[in-house]
């Protein structure tokens, strides 16, 4: 038998998942794009009683999610988001996935179209460890946060926090909240300048909304 993801959900949820759960309004409609094993959807169902849906590219993970009672379809962020109508969800979440999409800009545009809010988390390529490896060793960085060698990594479109902010400007998205986590999973103080977040943050979570005309 397949394991029940309900039981797999770690007793200690990921810090970025906890932050997302804090951002999401209770009882809202949520689409988790690239939902993996469904840990975030389970967390949101449990703590925020959301009406949650997921899209996941890996078939075995989809099947395990559905077997665990989640509404998940096998699909692809690049290809399938265009199917959804405008503002179908309250939140569309892209958790550590945007860097692995083929067209991050189009994906983010779709997220902002199909939901009233987009929540995007990503590994920050501006983190000091990344810069250090590239600067001192002259090699593509391999860190606990980015564990794969360049030739095996699914991450084709890595970016820094500053890059992501620039993309939000291009897409005319309003940044409602942005949070960076350091390597030990602590939130960096919001009083720090963005340059510091970009240097010390290993991961970032953005809450965005479209500026509707």
């Amino acid at each position: 038998m397949l394991q029940n993801p309900r039981q797999i959900v770690a007793e200690t949820p990921r810090v970025d998942h906890l932050l997302i759960a804090e951002m999401v309004r209770a009882g809202s409609r949520v689409l988790d794009v690239g939902c993996g094993d469904g840990a975030l959807l389970h967390l949101l169902a449990e703590r925020r009683q959301v009406d949650g849906r997921g899209i996941e590219v890996a078939r075995d993970r989809v099947n395990a999610c559905v077997a665990g009672g989640l509404s998940v379809i096998q699909g692809d962020a690049d290809r399938d988001l265009s199917e959804y109508p405008d503002a179908a969800f309250d939140y569309a979440i892209l958790s550590l996935t945007i860097q692995a999409t083929r067209q991050p800009k189009a994906v983010l545009e779709n997220l902002l179209r199909i939901a009233r809010h987009a929540i995007v988390s990503f590994p920050n390529f501006g983190h000091w460890k990344v810069r250090q490896q590239l600067l001192l060793r002259g090699r593509m960085p391999v860190t606990p946060n980015l564990p794969d060698a360049w030739y095996e990594s699914p991450n084709g479109h890595l970016c820094t926090i500053k890059d992501f902010v620039a993309l939000c400007e291009v897409l005319d998205a309003r940044i409602e909240r942005k949070v960076a986590f350091n390597a030990s999973g602590q939130q960096l103080g919001t009083w720090l300048p963005m340059t510091a977040h970009n240097f010390l943050g290993e991961r970032a979570v953005f809450l965005l909304s479209p500026r509707r005309r």
Binding site: V62, N63, V66, V72, I73, Q74
Partner: protein
């Protein structure tokens, strides 16, 4: 617990009221409900009276919220979870339906009815036409999947059920599931269309036409009047079944099962005997099928499948069939199914996404072709269990009592 209604008993009363004028009841071994008010058909004609033969399993709860309708495929029937009265074989979906199974009859009240146009107790071309006293034969009106579903709604009304907890089916059963949602969406809490499509493809129509032509080319078909003549187009129907059976399998499944192995002989016979195991197997499939299936029913039901096109019924936009749906969906396909391939399930999912429906979609890895939905596929069972249990939780259906 005392509030639980024994619907089996209520249903048997329905049967008692009708069985006196229904001679085939013993043969089909089922409950039969008779409906006197006419069924308006898609072809413009109406049908009255008509019978629907059905089986039930489990107990309907007091709220009548735990009913699951299982819809059968082209050549199956209402005997989903009991031994078949003619063949003696286990029901066709005992892997999925029964006590402690993914569709747990300790928890749910399961209904399965023989489709309109069928030949195991429901009114079909082999039934007697009251107007002539003869079997309908080709005077039976051409029916559609939608007509089958409308006939089922009469049965569900008679059982006093407003909303089905779930409608589940594979292949043609999956088309009925989709049609249930399209026509009677507010009566369906959850829907599980498996290995199916929203419209019949040209290839599928082509295979069906081959089957029909095989039946009609058999001289014993007699222009559809074989029952009066005391004959049966056995050879034609057997060929139709053989051809169709190939489409239910896959190249890999055939290769794995038979390869080029010879049948009970060590050398080729240089004749047209069934030298190969695969030939012998197909001949067996053909000859056992004709014992339990009416040739004209085969014509009518394959026609209903060919006519099925939920997209064109909704102005060329499939999503319109599901507009505003509150039903929870679980769409399932199999990798090696070339009769209803995954892309056809994906088209259903796309349409559901376009109306932001609550949908799960699982493609299951299997080498067994279309027939995989009827076979021992643990991932299918896990998927359906997970989906059904989660939907039942939301519907507030109690878990089965602990058995000691």
């Amino acid at each position: 617990m005392s509030k639980i209604v024994k619907v089996d008993e209520a249903a048997r009363k329905v049967q008692d009221a009708t069985s006196s004028d229904h001679a085939s009841c013993d043969r089909v071994g089922s409950l039969v409900a008779r409906f006197d008010s006419p069924l308006e058909l898609d072809c413009g004609k109406s049908l009255a009276p008509f019978d629907i033969a059905y089986q039930t399993y489990g107990t309907l709860n007091a709220a009548k919220s735990n009913a699951i309708l299982v819809c059968h495929a082209l050549t199956a029937d209402q005997h989903v979870a009991n031994d078949h009265p003619i063949t003696g074989k286990p029901g066709w979906w005992t892997t999925l339906v029964g006590p402690g199974r993914p569709i747990d009859t300790n928890r749910f009240f399961v209904i399965c009815s023989n489709v309109l146009g069928g030949c195991l107790g429901s009114t079909g071309p082999a039934s007697i036409d009251a107007a002539t006293g003869q079997p309908f034969g080709l005077n039976f009106p051409v029916i559609t999947i939608g007509d089958m579903v409308d006939a089922q709604t009469r049965l569900i009304d008679r059982l006093g059920i407003d909303q089905l907890f779930s409608v589940i089916g594979g292949s043609m059963g999956g088309m009925q599931v989709l049609e249930w949602v399209a026509r009677h969406g507010n009566r369906v809490f959850s829907a599980v269309p498996i290995a199916t499509a929203a419209w019949h493809s040209a290839q599928n129509i082509a295979f069906h036409e081959l089957g029909r032509q095989a039946v009609m080319a058999d001289p014993n078909w007699r222009g559809g009047r074989y029952l009066e003549a005391g004959t049966s187009p056995r050879n034609g129907l057997a060929v139709a079944r053989m051809a169709a059976h190939i489409t239910y399998l896959s190249e890999d499944a055939l290769q794995d099962k038979f390869g080029r192995s010879l049948q009970a002989r060590t050398a080729k016979t240089f004749s047209f005997d069934a030298d190969f195991q695969v030939e012998s197997y197909l001949r067996h499939q053909g000859s056992t099928f004709v014992d339990r299936f009416d040739a004209n029913s085969y014509l009518y039901i394959t026609r209903a499948l060919d006519y099925f096109d939920l997209k064109s019924e909704h102005g060329g936009i499939l999503a319109n069939a599901f507009k505003g749906t509150k039903t929870r969906f679980c769409v399932v396909s199999f990798t090696s199914d070339w009769l209803y391939p995954t892309r056809e399930s994906r088209a259903i999912v796309q349409a559901l996404n376009a109306v932001a429906a609550n949908v799960s979609f699982v493609e299951i890895e299997s080498s067994k072709g279309h027939d995989a939905f009827l076979l021992e596929e643990p991932e299918l069972f896990a998927t359906i269990s997970g989906f059904i249990n989660s939907a039942a939780e939301r519907r507030g259906i109690a878990l089965p009592a602990e058995r000691h």
